[in-house]
């Protein structure tokens, strides 16, 4: 087990350009599942590659288990990584793919078979050991990549979007498996993804990145319920949080909190919403509306409802939000601010 820490970690690819990763400070906890979440180009993969030793940082320090590892090669860092493409060795059988790290780390030869079988057993791929990677399905390849990563029991586990090459159905089951797998082996894990569902579902904590800056680190609950700024607020949640600019502040509320007035006992704010369109998504409805009258006339809002079958397009209805569901952000800095009474009409 080990803790990964970065101090002011920075990566600039081309001199004079904006950094891909800027002054990132983070510290994992023992045995934690930490997710780097961000849109593409947010620097999450670059950050992971720097921790792995595949990318040289422009500035700052990386510590693994309390030691600075900046100058160490990937091999000396003793971490394991699963790549987005799995990067299996195409000319080696599954057995030899999994055994490769053991050979490379000069583990005693007598132990190879036992360790490979342990890893294969854990991931349910024991029957595939004689196959070549090209004879495997996407899900099987992913398991082989995982088995190759765990076989030498690394102190840190890095995963770069390991589910993105799987189809939607397989992804859900693979997510579940990865979670229970992590619970069983309990190794500190850093997981990169752009998929907020994966991040929310799997992470002990989520680190939201945007343009190489850390926007927030917190439990899934914290980042969703108390977003640190407007970027986090709109990046997490689908559909994203409604934002309205009011004086010095930006006020946000989630679509599931914008409800017909009869469902909100003590509304802090009410809007008259003209229904533009409703979408039926099976378990829920998404209602798109435009505010009719008042200070925010013409602004679009989104509501998420258990049922919207009674709403008629182009008709106006009263909607309300409770006080505790409102989020306040500073309009200048876009950072979260204290709740404040303000005029709404």
């Amino acid at each position: 087990m080990a803790v990964v820490e970065t101090r002011n970690l920075t990566k600039v690819f081309k001199e004079g350009d904006v950094g891909a990763v800027n002054n990132v400070n983070l510290q994992t906890r023992e045995g934690e599942f930490l997710v780097f979440l961000g849109p593409s180009g947010s620097g999450k993969t670059t950050l992971l590659r720097m921790i792995a030793g595949l990318e040289r940082p422009t500035g700052g320090e990386i510590l693994i288990g309390g030691h600075v590892v900046n100058h160490l090669t990937p091999r000396e860092r003793r971490i394991a990584m699963v790549f987005q493409s799995y990067a299996l060795y195409p000319h080696l059988s599954v057995y030899n793919n999994i055994a490769f790290p053991l050979k490379a780390q000069r583990v005693k030869k007598e132990l190879h078979r036992q360790k490979v079988e342990w890893a294969a057993e854990l991931l349910g791929i024991k029957h595939l050991l004689d196959r070549k990677p090209r004879e495997l399905s996407g899900g099987e390849r992913q398991r082989v990549a995982l088995a190759r990563a765990i076989v030498r029991q690394p102190t840190v586990f890095l995963l770069d979007e390991p589910l993105s090459n799987l189809d939607a159905k397989l992804r859900a089951s693979a997510r579940d498996e990865l979670e229970s797998f992590h619970k069983r082996i309990g190794t500190t894990t850093i997981y990169v993804t752009h998929d907020q569902v994966e991040a929310m579902a799997m992470g002990d904590r989520v680190m939201v990145l945007h343009q190489g800056h850390v926007r927030q680190i917190g439990t899934p609950r914290e980042v969703y319920d108390k977003p640190a700024d407007t970027f986090v607020a709109t990046f997490l949640g689908s559909p994203p949080m409604n934002l309205l600019e009011n004086g010095e502040f930006v006020v946000g509320f989630r679509p599931e909190h914008l409800l017909p007035i009869e469902l909100v006992p003590n509304p802090a704010i009410t809007f008259r919403l003209r229904v533009r369109n409703t979408e039926y998504l099976g378990a829920e409805w998404i209602l798109y509306g435009v505010i009719a009258g008042g200070k925010f006339d013409g602004r679009s809002l989104v509501s998420r409802l258990g049922s919207a079958s009674s709403f008629i397009p182009d008709e106006a209805y009263e909607f309300g939000i409770r006080e505790q569901d409102l989020h306040y952000f500073d309009r200048q800095t876009e950072k979260r601010a204290e709740a404040k009474a303000m005029a709404w009409q």
Binding site: A52, G53, L54, T73, P74, R75, R78, I79, A80, M81, F83, Q84, S85, A87, L88, Y89, P90, H91, F100, P101, K103, A104, Q105, R134, R148, R152
Partner: protein, 327 residues
């Protein structure tokens, strides 16, 4: 034939049934004006230059070589006498031929080993981006685009007994005394080494380009995964990079073997097979015997000795190409 008439006639009838009956407006459209006829004519006219080229410049000489090899034809002969395997028996007894056969193998194998090792070493740094990469790649490719004979003549001067720049440098560095410097093309072993080195110099660019292409086709993540898995430089090279490059290296080797086994330019220009046949290879011996010596039948017999070897190499080449496609 008799066993299968029903399906054959059936197929014919079916084909006839599918063609629409000639319309009343155009009772007699010539076959070449119909869409099928036009497509056929276009196909034939596009294809025939290649067929004619191969037949005239490869097929005819190839057949002639067989015809000559079993005869007593000389330049200027007006008669043809079948002599069976007499020519083959006679060349097999000739010391020159045996020497040339052995030399051909030495020349090809040693130069190919040097080429593959050299081009693999070159390909690795050339794969990475650095300032001036384009220029370095251009320099390495230069020996390939220059005419072989010109390059070989340049080397002839570099290795000359009197004016050799190499010897000038060796003398200037006091490694040799003047007039006792090595005779690069005059001593049997040195001459063979020189011929092999020049052939290596000439084939290196081609092989480098092929291997470079193979190397850039390996996804960057695979060697990276090997690094993270704990592999050092040599393990990564011998267990990951080289095995993954193997199909493409095979292609480079087989091309190189064919180019070297059948080529006589370097030998002809540098040493003309000398001294005392010590650098003679089969193609040059065939040329000297058959064309310059006028003994067409013996020359043909010598050159036909290459055929079984080249057929085997070609077979492996095609198999490799097929295999690497499947991977």
């Amino acid at each position: 034939m008799k066993a299968n008439p029903p399906p054959a006639t059936h197929a014919l009838a079916e084909a006839a049934g599918r063609t629409p009956p000639p319309s009343a407006a155009s009772p007699h459209v010539p076959w070449r004006r119909t869409p099928e006829g036009r497509a056929m004519l276009l196909g034939v006219s596009m294809f025939s230059p290649a067929v004619i080229y191969i037949l005239a410049l490869i097929g005819v000489p190839f057949v002639l070589a067989f015809v000559y090899a079993f005869s007593d034809v000389k330049v200027g002969s007006i008669s043809y006498h079948w002599v069976g395997l007499e020519n083959f028996r006679s060349i097999l007894q000739s010391p020159s031929f045996r020497k040339a056969l052995a030399n051909s193998f030495i020349f090809t194998i040693v130069s190919q080993i040097l080429v593959i090792v050299g081009s693999t070493i070159l390909a690795f740094p050339l794969k990475d981006k650095f300032r001036g990469r384009g220029f370095v790649r251009f320099l390495i490719l230069l020996p390939w685009v220059a005419p072989i004979s010109l390059g070989a003549i340049g080397w002839k001067w570099i290795l000359d007994s009197l004016y050799s720049v190499i010897n000038w440098v060796l003398v200037a560095m006091h490694l040799f005394k003047p007039y006792s410097a090595p005779m690069w093309l005059g001593e049997p072993t040195l001459a063979m080494a020189s011929v092999i080195l020049v052939q290596t110099w000439r084939l290196l660019p081609f092989s480098t380009v092929i291997i470079l292409a193979g190397l850039t086709a390996i996804p960057k993540e695979i060697p990276e995964a090997a690094e993270v898995d704990g592999a050092g430089f040599w393990r990564k090279l011998f267990q990951i990079d080289l095995p993954m490059m193997l199909p493409i290296i095979n292609v480079a080797v087989l091309f190189g073997i064919i180019f070297t086994f059948t080529d006589m330019t370097v030998v002809y220009v540098l040493t003309a097979g000398g001294p005392y046949d010590s650098t003679q290879v089969l193609p040059s011996l065939a040329f000297f015997t058959g064309v310059l010596g006028g003994d067409l039948s013996q020359g043909a017999a010598i050159s036909l000795f290459l055929v079984p070897i080249l057929v085997a190499v070609t077979y492996f080449m095609l198999r490799m190409a097929h295999k690497s496609e499947v991977v």
